[in-house]
């Protein structure tokens, strides 16, 4: 019987079994940002410890950075304090930092892959739950808390329990106007927000095989929203082609050796899984959340569910969500009026996301009552988009075009909802208060669907706008 990638990576990184029974796992890449690390560095100082592997540790700033006015010092003094602390910590402990002046600055989960730091077969940790994104490359990547950040800084290791592995076999061709975001929202809706607890999700099948790295990253990114701390795709030619030539990727003969090793780390054809789930991707519609967790979604053609039709143990959650969202049960989600459109986040702010959104808004204009912004995931994405003229398409359509950062995904910077505003968002969480207003509301959807909602001023099926585009082209 063969092994899964998860098992091979786990075994290759095992230092020893600790007296408690947990396993000591070596962490191949540690990514650091300003929000979850200052206390960890303070603990390091208090104990007089150096960083064990500073050359396997990389930092950037993303969560609190303003995306409009990026000059220092920031007007926001708390943000300035946090950036200053990270700069000092990186300097004192010898850690490379991609700061605001760097062309490579951006959301940590976007720049790791861009720089070629993220590679197959690695273990990757970062003080952020969306670290699962890096699993798109066949890495075992997961979020950790601040005390664990300290553990990794001090020892380059973590004390962990192994996970079970669930294979998600996704087959079929996506319909036009249906994207990776719709696939992962559908998976979370089917398996639930706690369905993945205790599991690593291995995504595969013909749908995943046909996906670009950007799309695979969107899928793996939201694993944690389904309860799975780890999500990954086995590395293949698409992975290797993406990595070749990147700044930190091996080059020349080393690349060939790397490729051979990466291939060996992929799951064996006869690998045993703890569970297998099959998903028909061809049947997936553009998907939108109506509730307060990412599992509460419907296809664009479906009605918002009602509490009395929900499973008995879901009834209270559905009722709570409907009360908070103030959306009418039984009515279609389509037509829900929005106030804000946000295209950004580690889920969906890569170049291909911006291209798809731009395709929808080209020649159209944002509805007069809608505030719309595009926040590229990295300065690299921003520059690439500008070289294609995407920024002009967005600006002409009435979108704001911003600098790179996490922005309104979690509203730690000045970008946030006000009052009861409803936001069509390409981000990953629709939790109560997530986008900065305690009573603000979030509808998660693909970037193309956000673009369509911005134009219409309400949730709409993006396929209708894409159809008009086809007619116009003829």
């Amino acid at each position: 019987m063969g092994h899964t990638l998860f098992r091979k990576v786990w075994d290759a990184h095992t230092v020893r079994v600790l007296p408690t029974g947990q396993t000591q796992i070596f962490i191949g890449l540690h990514l650091v940002h300003e929000v979850t690390t200052p206390q960890a560095f303070d603990m390091m100082r208090a104990r007089g410890w150096p960083v064990a592997f500073p050359d396997r540790t990389f930092a950037t700033v993303d969560h609190i950075v303003p995306t409009r006015e990026r000059t220092r010092p920031f007007l926001d003094l708390q943000a300035e304090d946090m950036i200053t602390a990270l700069e000092r910590n990186c300097r004192d402990f010898g850690i490379p930092l991609f700061d605001l002046s760097s062309d490579s600055q951006g959301i940590v989960h976007i720049i790791g892959p861009e720089l070629g730091l993220t590679q197959p077969g690695m273990t990757i940790a970062c003080g952020d739950s969306h670290t699962s994104t890096h699993g798109a490359f066949g890495a075992v990547a997961f979020g950790i808390g601040t005390s664990q950040v300290r553990d990794v800084l001090a020892s380059q290791c973590l004390a962990l329990d192994p996970l079970k592995v669930r294979r998600l076999d996704v087959g079929g061709r996506l319909a036009r106007g249906v994207y990776a975001k719709d696939v992962i929202l559908t998976i979370i809706q089917r398996l639930g927000v706690k369905g993945g607890v205790g599991y690593a999700y291995e995504y595969g099948g013909s749908t995943l095989e046909a996906m670009s790295m950007d799309e695979r990253m969107t899928i793996c990114n939201m694993s944690i929203e389904g309860g799975a701390r780890v999500g990954y795709v086995n590395p293949d030619e698409t992975t290797y082609a993406y990595l070749e030539g990147r700044r930190y990727a091996p080059a020349g003969d080393a690349f060939e050796r790397a490729r051979a090793w990466w291939g060996r780390m992929a799951s064996d054809a006869d690998a045993a899984y703890d569970d297998v789930v099959r998903i028909d991707a061809a049947a997936i519609e553009p998907t939108v959340t109506w509730g307060i967790n990412p599992g509460q979604s419907v296809g664009i053609g479906e009605p918002i569910p009602s509490a009395d039709r929900a499973l008995p143990n879901e009834r209270a959650s559905v009722a709570e969500a409907l009360a908070f969202m103030d959306l009418p049960a039984g009515r279609p989600i389509r037509g829900t009026r929005i106030d804000v459109a946000f295209i950004g986040s580690c889920t969906n702010a890569r170049l291909s996301d911006l291209r798809e959104a731009a395709r929808v808004v080209r020649g159209r204009h944002v509805a007069p009552h809608v505030r719309a912004l595009v926040v590229p995931g990295s300065q690299n994405v921003r520059a690439a988009a500008e070289s294609e003229g995407l920024h002009e398409i967005f600006r002409d359509a009435g979108f704001e075009w911003r600098g790179a950062g996490c922005s309104m995904c979690l509203a730690m910077n000045p970008d946030r909802l006000e009052g009861r505003e409803i936001c069509a968002s390409s981000s990953n969480r629709n939790f109560k208060g997530r986008q900065g207003s305690p009573v603000g509301r979030t509808l998660l959807m693909s970037p193309a669907m956000v673009a369509a909602a911005a134009v219409e001023g309400a949730v709409v099926d993006v396929r209708e706008l894409l159809a008009e585009e086809t007619v116009a082209a003829r």
Partner: protein, 200 residues
């Protein structure tokens, strides 16, 4: 935090907090992560939920001084922010009893010496109801025995065995253990081809 200490028994009164899928954005809204220390985090615990619900258990004087938080399914889902268990612990909670927990929350809680122990749905329902009826009910989480008791009732609890061992022996602060055999860490790094950039 000071050095590791054994956490084998947590007792006191309880605070029942009903609801599934309570995420860490609700436990501590992101705007309070804009700080370089955890100090004072407890002042903002469930701040937005409490503002919208005058009868929120964390605002109820009957539960003031509680040492045990009693929750339902998938508690602490979402963001990996350790600020969430930090705020709960700094408020005065020593252990969390629930139907289930997000993995990251459970790990973060363990790393600061706060056990999360799981009971069946019925047991949690009974425990929450008992505390709501008599807030002064003495609740006792015995980590070593893996049980939760309240008044005359006692239920078997689930704790991941390695964490149970870590709490009972005081090894929940893992850094010391992880640094114990650093030569072994170097050896593993030396065997991983990517660490040397796939040089021959």
């Amino acid at each position: 935090m000071s050095g590791p200490s054994r956490v084998s028994l947590v007792e006191g009164t309880g605070l029942p907090l009903r609801g599934d899928d309570i995420d860490t954005d609700r436990i501590i809204p992101a705007r309070y992560l804009r700080a370089i220390s955890f100090e004072g985090m407890e002042c903002h615990l469930f701040e937005d939920d409490r503002a919208q619900d005058g009868s929120h258990p964390f605002s109820n004087p009957a539960y003031r001084g509680a040492a045990l938080l009693v929750v339902n399914r998938n508690f602490g889902c979402g963001s990996s922010r350790e600020h969430a268990p930090q705020a709960i612990q700094r408020w005065g909670i020593g252990a969390v009893v629930g139907e289930s927990f997000s993995e990251i929350f459970l790990g973060n809680s363990a790393a600061i010496g706060m056990p999360c122990v799981a009971l069946d749905h019925e047991a949690v329902a009974e425990l929450q109801a008992a505390i709501e009826k008599v807030p002064s009910t003495a609740v006792r989480v015995d980590v070593a025995a893996a049980t939760v008791a309240a008044g005359p009732r006692r239920w078997p609890a689930r704790i991941p065995p390695a964490l149970q061992e870590a709490f009972v022996t005081g090894a929940w602060d893992a850094t010391g253990l992880l640094l114990e055999r650093f030569d072994d860490v170097r050896a593993v790094a030396g065997r991983l081809p990517y660490v040397s950039g796939f040089r021959d």
